[in-house]
Symmetry: C2
Subunit: 246 residues, 2 copies
């Protein structure tokens, strides 16, 4: 008696299509057979086919376009953009990103006051609930083809005794120079993890289904390792890699 196939039908369909995508039968950008055609081919109804396609969409292997068809993607190829991570100081005392990208804030960038949640307070070594200046912006570059969400947190407490006690400080990276001018020697540490986007993040970054994002926290420390600034980057995960020297 041969080992019978106990896989559900929708998974057999998903497996078949996944093999086809990975082995080049359905190259990236090319359409898969229509749902109707697959239903007939596998002898099932359309909802069953759709269940299989839903699985592939969640895996980022396929993108459905309304009225046109379902198209293969290739989420495993090297991304077209490599961003070296780092901060350089120019001779004039300005700070620039190592990747040289010039970001533009969207119109609806906001500055607010936030009370530090537990995990951020932990990194900034401040008591939870302590107030922080918070800058929030959708940033774009290269005619909107590059996008990232950027947030800057500065605890009120680190601004005490500076000119920013009475006037709002700038966001990073301008804020770097401000602290450097106060005599701090800056160090930067990044914490990287992947995550699936929330619907609003997916929309802002124009992420198709099944594309994760990179969540990066950058902690800036000054004299005696004192935490000064925390930044949060949300980067699209589909065509981008970060480069770090060890």
């Amino acid at each position: 008696m041969p080992a019978e196939n106990t896989q559900p039908k929708y998974r057999q369909i998903a497996d078949y299509l996944r093999r086809g995508i990975l082995d080049g039968t359905y190259p990236a950008g090319q359409p898969l057979p229509s749902e109707e055609a697959l239903a007939k081919q596998f002898g099932v109804t359309r909802p069953t086919v759709r269940q299989g396609l839903t699985e592939l969409r969640a895996a980022g292997l396929v993108e459905a376009i309304m009225g046109r068809g379902t198209f293969a993607r290739s989420p495993h190829k090297r991304p077209s953009l490599t961003r070296p991570r780092g901060v350089r100081r120019t001779p004039e005392g300005r700070y620039v990103e190592a990747d040289g990208i010039r970001w533009t804030d969207s119109e609806d960038a906001t500055i607010t006051r936030t009370d530090a949640p537990l995990d951020l307070a932990d990194l900034l070594r401040i008591p939870p609930g302590e107030p922080m200046f918070t800058y929030d912006a959708l940033q774009t570059a290269d005619q909107g083809r590059l996008r990232q969400l950027h947030r800057t947190y500065v605890p009120f407490s680190v601004l005490i005794g500076t000119k920013y006690e009475t006037e709002a400080p700038p966001a990073a990276p301008e804020l770097y120079a401000a602290f450097a001018d106060m005599g701090h020697e800056l160090h930067f540490t990044e914490y990287v993890r992947p995550r699936m986007p929330l619907p609003d993040q997916a929309q802002a970054l124009r992420l198709p289904d099944g594309v994760p994002l990179l969540h990066v926290l950058r902690l800036t420390t000054g004299k005696a390792g004192k935490p000064l600034i925390l930044e949060e980057f949300q980067l699209p995960g589909d065509d981008l890699e970060l480069q770090y020297p060890l």
Copy 2:
């Protein structure tokens, strides 16, 4: 005339549950209402409820457990493990990871010969199709609670003129010491990107639905920046972050 809600029903259900998860109505680990209950509550049929839940599962916000229920997750909290990335050389000339984790290869670790695909050949600066030693292992640590997939590539060409011309070289990180003993001063660069796992990767790393993985390429270079070794790490994305100094 008020702005009518044009959202499909399954999305209204997903939105309702997502809000509940994010605002603490359904804390991580706690069950959501049953599909039947949600269907009655929203006046829809079970398949419609399931469509909404499928969306939340793909986003990692929820985990369904057969026969028991559907449970909230919290993919946005800081992970419990921070792994500082780096390689240190001990006084005895061995190389160890900066995070100090001691990995054990699974039983089915393999050594094979691979012809370099285009993107890897590009990083190693060898012609595409050139043969490479390839080590492949599922690694575990901490009684199997930590898992990663690790692969080491060494082009045949960089082994010419060494004792490994006739004998198989070790995998990284032992291979580091071998090259260092040959007079190479080693430098390491990592390339990081997120991706959804394939089914076999999800199974090996025990990833629930909706959890991305971190794909890390580590390139080791020696004298005159010559690429020597390429490693590939696939790390679970649900409870782990990587730490890099800038």
